[in-house]
C-alpha cells in the first residue's frame, strides 16, 4: 500500500511538472501567498509593496499573482498548488504558518522555487528569509524607556513564538538600560491581524497605566486607540503607519522586502537561484526605521539614530552581555553577543520582565 501510494504521488508530480512545462510561458511568473489582506497597512501591505517593486523592476519580463487572506493549513496548500499548476516559477509564502504546507507542495513541484518567510524548514527548492526586527525593537525600547512617565510600557504580542519574544526582550533590555524603573505589560492576542482585538488590547493596556504601546500585530487599531487616549506613544509596526505621525506614532519599524524580492526574482530569471537562509537587519536595509518625529526630544532622537548607525555598521549587537535570563541564571557574559541559533529559537524572557510566556 505504501509503495502504491508513493508511485501514485510520483506520477502526480510528473503530471504536475508536465502541466507546468506545457504552459510554455516566457514571462517569469512570481506568486505570493498572503496571510492577511493587502490593505492591512502592516505586514501584508509591505509584502505586497515588495511584489509591486518586482513588477516595476522587471516590467513585462515578469508576471506576478497573489492570493490574500489565505488560511494557514490545507487552504494554503491548495493556493500554492494552484499557482504552481498555472506556471509560477517562484512562490513567496509570507507567514510562519505556511511552513509545512510550503514544504509539502515544494516536494510535489521540484522545478518551482519556493521562498518561505520566518520559518526554519528548507529544501532544495525552498529558501527561508526573515528580517532582524529585534534590531528595530532595540531603538524602540530606547525611545520608550526615555519617554514613558508612568514607567509602564504596554506590549501587544501576537503569538508567543521566538520572533515575538525576541522583540519583547530587545525592547525591554534597551528600555531598562535608560530607565531602570520601567515595567513591561504584555498582552497576547493570538492573531497577526484583528483590528478589534488589537484595539481592545491597547485600551486595556492604557487603562493599566501604560503610556507607551508597542505592538507586534499588523493593524493600525492600536494607533487609533492611543490617539483617542491622547497622551500615549506608539510605534508603527511592519509598515510606517505615517498617518498617525507625529503623535501618537513617533517612529516605526518598516519591513522592506523589495530588494530581497527583486534579487530572488532576478536569480530565478538568471538560473542562479539556490536554496538559502537569509536573515537581514538594518544594515542591508531589510529593516527600516521610520522617521522619528519631533514629539521625541532632540537628544533622545540623536541617541536613537546613533544606535541605529551602530547596529547598521555592526559595531553594536542588541543582545550584548551581561544579560541574565528571567529566572536569574546567567545567559551572556560581559561583552558576549547572542548567537543566531539561540536567537532563532528564543523561548525565554530576560531578567526583569515580569509574567510568564504562555505555555
Amino acid at each position: 500500500m505504501k509503495l502504491s501510494h508513493l508511485l501514485a504521488t510520483a506520477a502526480l508530480a510528473v503530471g504536475f511538472a508536465g502541466a507546468a512545462i506545457a504552459e510554455g510561458h516566457e514571462k517569469t511568473k512570481v506568486g505570493f501567498v498572503f496571510v492577511g489582506p493587502v490593505g492591512d497597512g502592516g505586514w501584508t501591505y509591505e509584502h505586497n509593496k515588495g511584489r509591486l517593486a518586482v513588477e516595476e523592476e522587471f516590467g513585462d519580463a515578469v508576471e506576478t499573482v497573489f492570493v490574500e487572506n489565505v488560511a494557514e493549513g490545507p487552504d494554503s496548500e491548495r493556493v500554492m498548488t494552484q499557482m504552481a499548476l498555472n506556471g509560477a516559477d517562484l512562490i513567496f509564502t509570507t507567514s510562519f504558518g505556511f511552513m509545512d504546507p510550503t514544504i509539502n507542495i515544494a516536494a510535489k513541484f521540484p522545478d518551482v522555487k519556493f521562498e518561505h518567510a520566518t520559518g526554519y524548514k528548507r529544501a532544495d527548492n525552498v529558501s527561508t528569509y526573515s528580517a532582524r526586527f529585534y534590531e528595530g525593537r532595540a531603538i524602540q525600547g530606547h525611545i520608550a524607556g526615555k519617554m514613558t512617565e508612568s514607567n509602564i510600557v504596554g506590549y501587544i504580542g501576537s503569538f508567543p513564538i521566538p520572533e515575538v519574544i525576541r522583540g519583547i526582550n530587545s525592547a525591554y533590555i534597551h528600555a531598562a538600560k535608560v530607565n531602570p524603573d520601567v515595567e513591561f505589560k504584555v498582552i497576547w492576542v493570538y492573531t497577526w491581524f484583528d483590528p478589534a482585538k488589537e484595539a481592545d488590547a491597547a485600551k486595556v493596556l492604557i487603562e493599566q497605566g501604560a503610556d507607551v504601546i508597542l505592538q507586534h500585530t499588523d493593524s493600525t487599531a492600536p494607533q487609533a486607540a492611543a490617539q483617542e487616549a491622547g497622551n500615549v506613544v506608539t510605534f508603527g509596526q511592519a509598515s510606517d503607519m505615517i498617518q498617525y505621525a507625529p503623535f501618537p506614532r513617533v517612529s516605526s519599524i518598516i519591513d522592506d522586502w523589495a530588494p530581497y524580492y527583486i534579487a530572488r526574482t532576478k536569480a530565478v530569471m538568471d538560473g542562479t537561484w539556490v536554496s538559502t537562509d537569509t536573515w537581514d537587519g538594518i544594515g542591508p536595509g531589510m529593516v527600516g526605521i521610520g522617521e522619528i518625529t519631533d514629539a521625541v526630544p532632540a537628544d533622545v532622537k540623536a541617541e536613537a539614530l546613533a544606535m541605529k548607525a551602530a547596529i547598521a555598521d555592526g559595531s553594536y549587537h542588541p543582545f550584548t552581555g551581561p544579560l541574565n535570563k528571567q529566572d536569574g541564571s546567567a545567559w551572556l557574559a560581559e561583552g558576549e553577543t547572542a548567537d543566531d541559533g539561540t536567537l532563532a529559537g528564543m523561548n525565554f524572557y530576560v531578567e526583569g520582565i515580569e509574567g510568564d510566556i504562555p505555555q
Partner: protein, 361 residues
C-alpha cells in the same frame, strides 16, 4: 400594486426552487459587482463555478472539493438535526476544535508506537471530545434553562484559547525549536488520515460524512426519533402532548451535532491539516450553519450545499490569483448567497400578488 400574502400551506415547489434561484441571483448580482470592479463578469463567474470542476486542472481541484466539502457536510448534518427541532447549536466551531485536540492528543500519546488500533482510538476520542463540548450548553439548558445559542457560541472562544494553549504547551512538538504547533500527524503513519485512494481526496472524513448523511436521512424519514425532532420544531406543544421528552431531545440533538463536529475536526487534523496549531480552525463550524440552511436542513440538500460552498471557496481562490479579484469581493459574493436564500424564503411562506385586492377596503 404589489401585495404579499401568506400562503395557506408553505409551497413545496418554492422550497426546492429558492436555493437554485438564490444561486442564480447571486451570479447575476455577483457579476454586477465584478463588473463594477472592472473585471469581466462572465469570466469571473466561469472561473469560480466552471474552472474547479471542468477546467484545465480539474484533476487537482475535484478531489479538493471533497477535502473542503466533507467537514462542512459532516458538521451541517448534525446542526440540521438540532435546527429542525428548534435547538440552536451555534458553537460547532468550538466542538470541531475540541474534537481535533482530543483526536490529536490521543494519537500523539502513542507516538511513536505503530499500531492499527491508534487511528480508531483517535476517532473515538475526537467524537467524545466534540460531544462533551456540545453537551455543556445542553446540560446547562436542561438544568438551568440557559440559552444554548449564547453558551455554545461563547464556548467557541474558550475552545480557541484551549487550542492556543495546547499548541504552545502540552501538544507542542518537542522537536519544533520552540515554535508553536504539534508534531505533524501526516508523518506518523498510524495516526495519519491518509487518502484511501491516492489523489481522489477521499479520506475517512469523506466516508464519515457519507455515512452521516445516510443515517440522518433514515433517522428523519423512518425513525420515531426523527418524527419527534420534526414535530418539536414545528409544533412544540403538540410534541409534548405526544410524549416527546424535550430534555432528552435537547441532549440528543446537541450531543450528536457535537459528536459529528468533533469527528470533522479529528479527521481534519489527522489528514489535510496535519497538526494542531494556533490557527487550526478556519471557520468550518460557522460556514456549516450556512450549508445547513442552504441545504434546507435536508441531508441530501446539505451534500449539494456543502459541495457548492466548497466550490465557491476553491473557485474564489482561483479567481483571486488569475483575475486579481480581491478576497473581500469573493466574501461579499458568498455573503450574497446566504442573503438571497434567506430573502427568497419569503416566497416559500408567502406569495406575491399583483393588482389591487378584490375585496374593497
Amino acid at each position: 400594486m404589489i401585495r404579499i400574502e401568506a400562503r395557506p400551506q408553505p409551497s413545496a415547489m418554492m422550497a426546492y426552487a429558492t436555493p437554485v434561484l438564490a444561486v442564480l441571483l447571486t451570479m447575476v448580482f455577483g457579476g454586477v459587482l465584478f463588473a463594477a470592479l472592472g473585471k469581466d463578469p462572465f469570466q469571473a463567474i466561469a472561473t469560480i463555478f466552471w474552472e474547479p470542476v471542468f477546467g484545465e486542472f480539474s484533476f487537482y481541484y475535484r478531489p479538493q472539493l471533497l477535502v473542503k466539502g466533507a467537514p462542512l457536510v459532516l458538521i451541517a448534518i448534525g446542526l440540521a438535526l438540532g435546527f429542525k427541532a428548534g435547538i440552536w447549536n451555534i458553537g460547532a466551531e468550538g466542538q470541531y476544535i475540541v474534537g481535533a485536540i482530543c483526536g490529536a492528543a490521543m494519537g500523539l500519546a502513542f507516538y511513536p508506537t505503530e499500531s492499527v488500533f491508534i487511528f480508531p482510538l483517535m476517532v473515538l476520542a475526537g467524537a467524545v471530545g466534540g460531544c462533551i463540548w456540545a453537551l455543556i450548553p445542553g446540560v446547562l439548558k436542561v438544568k438551568f434553562g440557559t440559552n444554548e445559542i449564547l453558551v455554545s457560541l461563547m464556548l467557541v472562544y474558550v475552545a480557541e484559547q484551549l487550542l492556543a494553549s495546547m499548541s504552545l504547551g502540552l501538544l507542542k512538538n518537542p522537536e519544533g525549536f520552540g515554535f508553536p504547533g504539534s508534531r505533524n500527524l501526516q508523518q506518523y503513519p498510524s495516526a495519519h488520515n491518509a487518502e484511501l485512494i491516492a489523489n481522489t481526496g477521499m479520506h475517512w472524513g469523506v466516508v464519515a460524512a457519507l455515512i452521516a448523511v445516510i443515517f440522518s436521512y433514515i433517522l428523519l424519514t423512518r425513525h420515531r426519533l426523527g418524527f419527534a425532532i420534526r414535530v418539536t420544531g414545528e409544533a412544540p406543544r403538540a410534541a409534548r402532548f405526544g410524549g416527546v421528552n424535550p430534555s432528552r431531545l435537547i441532549l440528543f440533538c446537541l450531543g450528536v451535532s457535537g459528536l459529528l463536529a468533533g469527528l470533522a475536526g479529528m479527521f481534519e487534523v489527522a489528514g489535510p491539516a496535519g497538526q494542531i496549531s494556533i490557527d487550526f480552525n478556519v471557520g468550518y463550524g460557522f460556514t456549516a450553519i450556512i450549508v445547513a440552511f442552504l441545504g434546507r436542513l435536508n441531508p441530501i440538500g446539505i451534500v449539494l450545499a456543502g459541495l457548492l460552498m466548497a466550490l465557491t471557496y476553491i473557485g474564489g481562490d482561483i479567481a483571486q490569483s488569475q483575475l486579481g479579484l480581491p478576497a473581500a469581493a469573493i466574501q461579499v459574493f458568498q455573503g450574497m448567497l446566504l442573503f438571497f436564500l434567506l430573502a427568497l424564503d419569503l416566497l416559500t411562506n408567502y406569495r406575491v400578488r399583483f393588482g389591487t385586492p378584490e375585496a374593497a377596503t
